[in-house]
């Protein structure tokens, strides 16, 4: 057994002796379990692989001439992840081709047998140079080429030819190709699903972005490692350290991910997120789940790399444009701001960083201008600002001008560009420290695809777009600045453990004060945050046909101003949450709630605090007497019913309701001085009122006034004021028989029509018709109430009017829910709140017309 191993194979003495019997991957697994991680693990893996391969090569290739094995790509960089591909190049001299098959067999087959994915290119130096012209990815893999074993001179030759290639103008082309591929990769891996479950290699800010930086840095500037990026000034120390940490972190995560997936997988699926969080000892605490802590760290690393590579490539773009003779043009604008034109792209910047230190508010002025013109801030300025953000923080927070400019940014942002740049530079979290803890925070659910900080920025942008689209709503907003700030801060208390709407409402008060808002405006800001979920919640989970619900909501918002703001905020929030959070379905429900509430707010008495207090008082009084079942019983009593009776009366009604099973109709007449009142409680049904009117007419009683209510459980409570058509006293009326007949009529066992006809014939003519009799008028109103059709009848009063009209309604299958019957002088004024037999409003124009005609006829035939 050949036990000689070449130098540089990273031996660990006797342990290594044992390990060399296993495949490199198995050996790695053993080391991993012993606690080796991150970069060390990768380097160890490379070393083990190196030994394995070198051994196989030496077994067949006695001397060094004519062939060499070269490690490319990740393997070349000694970044061999547990399930990475092994990218190998078998470089040969044309004269040595006869030995190739032997070497390939000896090297490649064992690797394949071990289950590895092997890049197995076999080329001469000439072929390599030829291929790099057409295959960009091959060119890139050569940049990381590392000699493994064999003919070193051959490898040197390759390097020399590669250097030649680049020195003849191919550098710029390489950089441009790199940038183009990067763009394409970002769009391919930029979908929403990748925000939730990032691909830590290919997603924006992933390891590929870092590699792209390193390759371009090597080719363009000769920087051999990240270290040299710092020493050459391409990166500041702060940037370098951040980048190094991010790289190390993602290495650890990628290792774990490969092992957790047990294959080459770079996608952080949910189940792996949880598994790795646990493995890294990240547990639930103070409002955040362990997995959320983990992902916060991942998003932070991704963001760090993303920002650094964005800045780097913008810089690269400028450099090569300059060498191509199309350098950027800098134009000074007003005091301190500069405009940079590069090709067809424009950027805004600060003249120099001292300006920002002398006059900190200039930074905010810059962003305000950028937002107004929707152009990005130049990378050079962004980088400078990022360096001094912490230093200037206090001065920004205490500067009146900064708040002014910030509100301009909020007002003008129609894209996330400027606010995202403010976030990335550290300006946003410095100016609004309340947002600090939301940075990179991703909540663990599939619904919210953005990290909270980005979601808030998106909400603000969506809001601005909405305000343009929905002008009739946005014009009804008094102070848009408050609405915009609420959009940016509505989730500020997320990740602090439960009840983020309530908590957030308190937190934003302090912010409102700093902005110099009035007390009313601060209240409004707090209100919006507190209720930002409420409207959508009601719309999708509550019965919008319950008038009581709408009334309660109207009382919560109190004004059209607040309703408009909450409506816009709700839509913006949903649109900014994710692709499934907003759709036509939700839009229809939310709009219904909005319109019904707006409608109600037009009737000021509904939100009159006195009325509200009166209702509350009534409910309390009734509840006091009811005891345990109070809640259930109160829920069926409509508001206007409660406002029409005393607590005692209500209790009497309830007592009647209890007697219904045995009695069917409870009828209680009472003499109250001059007027007689009759209480009728029974189960509501179509035609009930007409039957009641009919029976009373039969007994010669005029209904002067009536309050008709239907409780939500379908019980009718009718309070009638009656008086005799002829001179009779209360005791002259056979009330018992009336009640009995009422019972019969209600159960369809009394023929009212023929009896009434007989009765009125026997009475005879009522008296001479007044000369100027007003014609009856019928109004069918579908616009005043969202819940009922309102039918108003104005007609000369007469004994059979009510029966006639209500009978007609019954004939149409129309149900009466509320009614106010009365008269003004000679004229009867009857208002009915109705719905058709399906429970819907009557708004078919043909039916409306038919109904109107029928009711007019019914009113007229009473004019004898």
């Amino acid at each position: 057994m050949n036990t000689v191993t070449k130098p540089g194979s990273g031996g660990q003495g006797s342990e290594h002796e044992i390990l060399k019997y296993l495949t490199p991957r198995e050996a790695l697994s053993t080391l991993w379990k012993k606690g080796l991680k991150g970069k060390e693990l990768l380097e160890q893996h490379s070393s083990l692989m190196d030994s394995f391969i070198r051994q196989r090569f030496l077994d067949v290739q006695g001397q060094d001439h004519g062939a060499a094995l070269v490690a490319l790509g990740g393997y070349g960089r000694r970044e061999l992840f547990p399930f990475s591909d092994v990218d190998l190049l078998l470089l040969y001299h044309p004269d040595a081709s006869y030995r190739l098959e032997q070497i390939s067999d000896a090297v490649f087959y064992p690797l394949w047998d071990a289950g590895l994915e092997v890049g197995h290119g076999v080329r001469t130096v000439e072929q390599c140079i030829h291929d790099i012209e057409k295959d960009f990815f091959f060119l890139v893999s050569l940049i990381d080429a590392r000699f493994l074993c064999g003919d070193h001179a051959l490898f040197q030759e390759l390097n020399g030819r590669l250097a030649d290639f680049f020195s003849h103008g191919a550098r710029s082309r390489f950089a441009r190709d790199m940038m183009a591929h990067r763009e394409e990769r970002h769009s391919r891996f930029g979908d929403h699903t990748y925000l939730l479950e990032p691909n830590i290699k290919e997603s924006r800010g992933g390891l590929r972005d870092l590699q792209a930086m390193e390759w371009t840095g090597k080719v363009l500037f000769g920087l051999k490692s990240l270290n040299e990026f710092e020493s050459s000034g391409m990166l500041t120390s702060r940037e370098y350290e951040g980048l190094q940490d991010a790289k190390d972190h993602l290495f650890v995560v990628r290792n774990r991910l490969h092992y957790a997936s047990n294959r080459h997988n770079d996608r952080l699926f949910f189940e792996y997120q949880e598994e790795i969080a646990k493995a890294l000892h990240l547990y639930d605490s103070s409002g955040l789940m362990g997995v959320e802590r983990f992902m916060k760290g991942v998003h932070q690393s991704l963001k760090t790399i993303s920002i650094a590579s964005d800045i780097f490539f913008e810089h690269v773009n400028e450099v090569i444009s300059r060498t191509e003779g199309r350098g950027s043009q800098v134009q000074e604008l007003s005091s301190g701001l500069v405009e940079v034109q590069l090709g067809d792209r424009k950027f805004l910047g600060l003249r120099d960083r001292d300006l920002a230190i002398q006059r900190p508010w200039m930074v905010f002025r810059l962003f305000a201008e950028a937002a107004k013109q929707d152009i990005p801030v130049h990378f050079g300025t962004r980088r400078q600002i990022a360096e001094i953000a912490q230093e200037l923080k206090e001065r920004w927070i205490s500067s009146r001008r900064c708040y002014r400019y910030f509100l301009e940014v909020l007002e003008c942002s129609r894209s996330i560009q400027v606010l995202e740049q403010m976030l990335d530079c550290g300006v946003l979290t410095a100016f609004l420290p309340e947002m600090e803890h939301l940075h990179h925070l991703a909540l663990h659910d599939i619904y919210h695809v953005y990290t909270v900080d980005m979601h808030l920025i998106n909400t603000l942008v969506q809001l601005n777009i909405l305000m343009d689209e929905m002008k009739d709503v946005s014009m009804g907003v008094d102070v848009p600045a408050v609405l915009r700030l609420s959009a940016l801060l509505h989730d500020v208390a997320k990740g602090t453990g439960g009840g983020h709407a309530e908590k957030g409402a308190e937190v934003v008060k302090g912010v409102g004060e700093r902005f110099g808002f009035t007390e009313a405006e601060i209240d409004c800001l707090s209100f919006l945050v507190r209720y930002h979920l409420h409207m959508m919640d009601l719309a999708t989970r509550r019965d919008l046909e319950d008038e009581g619900l709408i009334i309660r909501f109207a009382r919560t918002v109190r004004s059209m101003d607040k309703l408009n703001m909450l409506y816009l905020l709700s839509i913006a929030d949903a649109r900014a949450t994710g692709p499934n959070a907003w759709n036509q379905w939700k839009g229809a429900l939310l709009q219904e709630l909005y319109l019904k509430t707006a409608h109600l707010l037009e009737q000021p008495e509904m939100i009159d605090p006195d009325r509200e207090a009166a209702v509350r008082w009534m409910r309390q009084k009734v509840a006091d007497r009811l005891g345990e079942e109070a809640e259930a019983i109160l829920s069926v009593l409509p508001e206007d019913y409660l406002l029409s009776f005393s607590p005692d009366a209500v209790l009497e009604h309830l007592e009647c309701v209890e007697q219904l099973p045995s009695q069917q109709v409870v009828c209680r007449p009472e003499e109250k001085g001059e007027s007689w009142s009759v209480l009728i409680v029974t189960k509501d049904r179509t035609g009930l009122l007409s039957k009641i009117c009919g029976v009373f007419a039969l007994y010669g009683l005029n209904i002067l006034q009536a309050n008709i209510f239907t409780l939500k459980n379908g019980i009718a409570v009718d309070m009638l004021d009656v008086s005799p058509m002829q001179e009779l006293s209360f005791s002259d009326i056979d009330w018992e028989r009336l009640c009995a007949d009422l019972r019969l009529a209600v159960t369809d066992r009394l023929g009212l029509s023929h009896r009434l006809a007989a009765r009125f014939r026997s009475i005879g003519v009522q008296g001479s018709k007044p000369l100027s009799v007003k014609r009856p008028r019928v109004v069918i109103d579908n616009s005043t109430s969202s819940f009922f059709t309102i039918i108003e009848i104005y007609a000369p009063d007469s004994p059979c009017l009510l029966y006639s009209v209500t009978k007609t309604l019954a004939d149409f299958g129309i149900n009466i829910y509320k009614a106010k019957i009365g008269s003004s002088g000679d004229q009867a004024v009857d208002v009915f709140y109705v719905l058709d037999h399906l429970g819907q409003r009557i708004d078919d124009p043909e039916i409306e017309q038919e109904l109107e005609q029928a009711l007019l006829y019914a009113s007229e035939i009473c004019l004898i």
Partner: protein
């Protein structure tokens, strides 16, 4: 085995889920759907302008149950989703050929 499809009013979803949970049915698929029927879409006249929505938002539940449970499940849904007003919805019962659990490969009643 049978598939029960129920189209109900959106705000009744929680009530129905709870009622089903009480009788031991916890697995179901829920989707937001648009309904068309005798119930008219919402129409509102506000400030002289007419706002019409020509569909009615509904929620559809899909549940697979053993045949002997069908009556009980249908009954439960009916009671929980009922408001007595138009638009309460409909329930459909369909036959099911087979049910398979992806994770384990179990088939038939065990996979429900």
């Amino acid at each position: 085995m049978k598939k029960i499809e129920a189209v109900i009013k959106p705000f009744k979803l929680d009530d129905v889920k709870e009622a089903l949970s009480d009788i031991g049915v916890t697995g179901m698929t829920v989707s937001e759907v648009k309904g068309h029927g005798r119930q008219k879409g919402h129409k509102e006249i506000y400030r002289g302008a007419e706002y019409v929505v020509d569909f009615i938002p509904k929620v559809k539940l899909e549940i697979i149950v053993a045949a002997e449970m069908v009556e009980q499940v249908v009954d439960t849904i009916c009671k929980a989703a009922n408001t007595g007003k138009i638009g309460d919805g409909k329930i459909f019962v369909l036959p099911v050929d087979d049910v398979i659990r992806v994770r384990t490969g179990e088939r038939g009643k065990e996979a429900i």
